[in-house]
């Protein structure tokens, strides 16, 4: 008799535990977009490295295309166009593969890619990025070219910290690293491309691989 009561209590306890697990998962699922794939980071890192390498060679071949006028650095339109095209290619490829791996992971988890949480994450990522983008255009127009690479790192870091509230919390630490790296880079003008390659290339790859092993590898 006593045994039966104990058994019933055990069952009840299991139910309560299941209730709590369910509540926790619902709160998490409804407020964070957790389908972001680590592989997206790895691919973005590789494209950023490839982009940095091509930018390095473009700059090397175009050294006569940079001159000073009234103490302001001038760039030939060709050089600007080449660098712009490389940057756009990196951005497009990163976004494309980021989207691909994220929808794949979402499907596996049975979540939707386009929902309230992914929208919140994107909006919160976009706000600092938008401000940073405009700031970079202003730097460019004022001829402060050396500060552009550090600025992109700083604002990207801020964007990740801001967006981390709506996705995997780990992304916050990548944000801190990018931000610190950008701030350091402001003291080493002329090394922008190297800092940029390290921040957008190496850090993304390291972060992506660690996220992949933490969240996706086992499943």
């Amino acid at each position: 008799m006593q045994f039966k009561v104990l058994l019933a209590m055990d069952q009840k306890e299991k139910d309560y535990l299941q209730d709590l697990t369910e509540i926790r998962s619902m709160m998490e699922k409804s407020s964070r977009f957790i389908s972001l794939s680590g592989l997206a980071g790895v691919f973005a890192g590789f494209f950023a490295l490839a982009g940095s390498i091509s930018a390095y060679y473009i700059l090397k071949n175009f050294y006569i295309a940079i001159w000073y006028e009234n103490d302001i650095i001038q760039l030939s339109k060709d050089l600007v166009l080449h660098l712009f095209l490389v940057a756009m290619a990196v951005l497009f490829l990163s976004l494309f593969f980021g989207y691909y791996f994220t929808t794949k992971k979402a499907k596996k988890l049975g979540h939707k890619t386009w929902n309230k949480t992914s929208q919140l994450m994107l909006i919160n990522l976009a706000i600092p990025l938008f401000a940073g983008g405009i700031f970079c255009v202003s730097l460019f127009l004022h001829g402060n070219l050396g500060l552009i690479a550090p600025t992109t790192l700083i604002f990207y870091g801020l964007a990740l910290v801001n967006g981390s509230k709506f996705t995997l919390n780990d992304i916050k630490y990548l944000g801190y690293c990018e931000m610190i790296l950008g701030l350091i880079a402001t003291f080493f003008i002329g090394w922008g491309l190297w800092f940029w390659a390290f921040g957008f290339g190496i850090l993304h790859i390291v972060y992506g691989i660690s996220m992949y092993y933490k969240y996706e590898h086992k499943q």
Binding site: Y16, L17, D19, L20, I23, M26, M27, S30, S31, N115
Partner: protein
């Protein structure tokens, strides 16, 4: 121990209701379609549980027109927040015993 069980709120006994309240606790407000997607339940099922929670004054329902379609959003009330927190505390105490 009996004390804690009496503190468990009968309004939250179903899984769907627990789910609805959990989602509302961490979101300012949520629309019907998002809620349905997250809970993975039928329209009627969600509607009846939402109605019960509204009757207990744990949430408010707001209907708006977005173009030609109606959009229904739910918001938790302070009373609902307090009741759910109490329920959570009771669950925790029961497991800690």
């Amino acid at each position: 121990m009996k004390d804690f069980i009496s503190q468990l709120n009968k309004s939250f006994e179903s899984r769907i209701r627990l789910g609805i309240m959990s989602v509302l606790m961490v979101n300012e407000s949520i629309d019907f379609l998002s809620l349905k997607e997250m809970l993975d339940a039928s329209d009627g099922n969600i509607a009846s549980h939402v109605a019960a929670l509204e009757k207990a004054e744990y949430l408010t329902i707001e209907k708006k027109f977005v173009g030609k379609k109606t959009s229904t959003t739910y918001t938790i009330t302070p009373l609902g927040r307090e009741a759910f927190n109490q329920h959570l505390n009771a669950l925790e105490q029961l497991l800690k015993r």
